[in-house]
């Protein structure tokens, strides 16, 4: 496997896709080949938009009544193989970003948490798991707040994890993005999917992922499982 994996997490409407666009542009400028996977619940347009805009392999998976992060964990192994088959050197996996408890970051990948500067001061603490297990926190919309407030917000993020790399940006214009691109360039490809593990333990529950089995790929789970190709096969709890 010679594909690097970038996992993008963060609540809806913070500008995850704007960050993704900057990453795609950067990789393409350096003659790289990115591929893109979006996991969402019922509606997503990003795959079509990005395919048209950048002519790269894209894919989307709807999780329906399944937890979208659960869905992501199930299909990510297939998706890495798909990306390799498509000739990609980087797979950008954008999560639905609905659950602030879940942390879909995987070992040997680059975990990017995107949050917005216009969230209240306490938001970073409320999203602690999503922020704490990431490698880089990208703070978007920093042009909308004062510098002092930006610095206070940054201090709140550091309360969650003092060592986090924090990048403040206006993602639409790309200000500050060069620091993110440096980290992306340094990221190594994932060499063995069998050793890739979830970084954190998902919420307690009744499925094999929820009870803490951290292997990725449907092959390693039982009960509610999904392959990349059968995302429309929604489990209705019968």
């Amino acid at each position: 496997m010679a594909v690097k994996l970038i996992v993008i997490a963060g609540p809806p409407s913070v500008g995850k896709t704007a960050v993704v666009k900057q990453i795609i542009k950067h990789i393409k400028r350096n003659n790289g080949a990115p591929a893109y996977l979006k996991v969402d619940v019922v509606v997503a347009f990003e795959d079509i938009e990005l395919k048209e805009e950048y002519n790269i392999p894209t894919k989307k998976v709807y999780s329906g009544d399944l937890c979208p992060d659960h869905m992501g964990i199930m299909v990510i192994r297939d998706a890495m193989e798909w990306a390799e088959k498509e000739g990609a050197d980087t797979l950008i996996y954008e999560s639905a970003g609905l659950c602030l408890r879940c942390t879909p970051y995987i070992s040997d990948s680059l975990g990017i948490c995107v949050i917005s500067a216009v969230f209240g001061t306490h938001a970073p603490l409320k999203m602690a798991p999503m922020i704490g297990l990431s490698d880089v926190v990208v703070v978007t919309k920093t042009d909308l707040i004062s510098q002092a407030e930006k610095e206070v917000f940054r201090e709140q993020i550091r309360k969650v994890s003092p060592e986090l790399d924090i990048i403040e940006t206006n993602a639409i214009q790309g200000t500050g993005m060069q620091y993110l691109m440096k980290v992306i360039d340094m990221q190594k490809p994932m060499d063995d999917l069998n050793h890739a593990m979830l970084r954190g333990i998902p919420p307690l529950g009744v499925c094999t992922i929820c009870v803490g089995k951290k292997e990725i790929g449907w092959q390693n789970h039982f009960g509610v499982i999904r392959r990349l190709e059968d995302d429309d096969n929604i489990y209705r709890g019968e």
Partner: protein
């Protein structure tokens, strides 16, 4: 901890491109501690973009394509990314403060972020802010409950006392009903580089240098020196007269008697 000695700090701005993509005409603009500079021009002419370039130490990576050096070189990453090392404080037109904190809590957190180790910093900041503004700020009030003028004077005091930055960037401070002359005079005493984006003739005349902008481009850098002295005196009188009238209107007076005391 400052990597570069504040006294010797030299910021140089190199040209980028106009809104229509033509190269800008100026060669370079140098900014040193003690410089009082205003940036003038119509709305949308790129005044805010100019100070933004300085704030982020643009390396041809912003919309304007400008390049900003510190003492002739590329600034260290920590200048931009670590508030404790950042030599710049900027007060934008966004005086909205969304933080769900009291004034004291907010200032205390900013003191930690800026790694400021002096005593009573929080009290001193509020004290200074209250000199810039008629309506007094109290530490236990929520920051989101402050008026626009109170937030702005607090931000200026915060920049001076907590950030202690050698370079201050102020975007249209005159708009919030604060005592602008008090602010300008206070900043002049501190030997800082101060850049005002302004539409106010009085602030423009109080500065030593004026950067004129149009269509995203710096079209002139003026140093009128003493040639505008008479205008400064005249505008200062007009401004004081207007301030008095403003105060009387604000307290609900109906103006009578001889207009402008003449």
């Amino acid at each position: 901890m400052n990597i570069v000695n504040d006294e010797q700090l030299l910021i140089t701005v190199y040209p980028g491109y106009t809104k229509t993509g033509e190269p800008e005409g100026f060669e370079s603009i140098e900014i040193r501690p003690g410089d009082i500079i205003t940036i003038v021009g119509p709305t949308g002419s790129g005044k805010t973009a100019f100070i933004n370039d300085i704030e982020v130490f643009a390396q041809r990576d912003t919309v304007t394509g400008r390049n900003v050096t510190v003492n002739g070189g590329v600034p260290p990453e920590s200048f931009v990314r670590d508030p404790a090392n950042k030599p710049i404080a900027m007060i934008t037109q966004n005086t909205k403060c969304l933080a769900d904190l009291t004034v004291d809590e907010f200032l205390d957190m900013h003191i930690i972020a800026r790694n400021n180790k002096e005593c009573n910093t929080c009290e001193k900041t509020i004290e200074l802010a209250n000199r810039f503004m008629g309506e007094k700020i109290r530490g236990e009030v929520r920051i989101s409950a402050l008026s626009g003028g109170q937030t702005r004077s607090l931000m200026i005091a915060d920049a001076v006392i907590i950030s202690q930055a050698p370079i201050l960037l102020l975007d249209e401070i005159e708009n919030a009903g604060i005592f602008k002359e008090e602010v300008v005079n206070h900043l002049k005493k501190l030997n800082k580089a101060v850049l005002f984006v302004t539409h106010d003739p009085y602030i423009a005349l109080l500065s030593d240098r004026r950067i004129v902008m149009r269509n995203g481009e710096v079209t002139a850098v003026l140093e009128p020196g003493d040639s505008e002295k008479e205008f400064l005196m005249k505008v200062s009188q007009i401004d004081h007269t207007l301030s008095e009238i403003r105060e009387r209107i604000r307290v609900g007076e109906v103006l009578g008697g001889v207009a402008f005391g003449s």
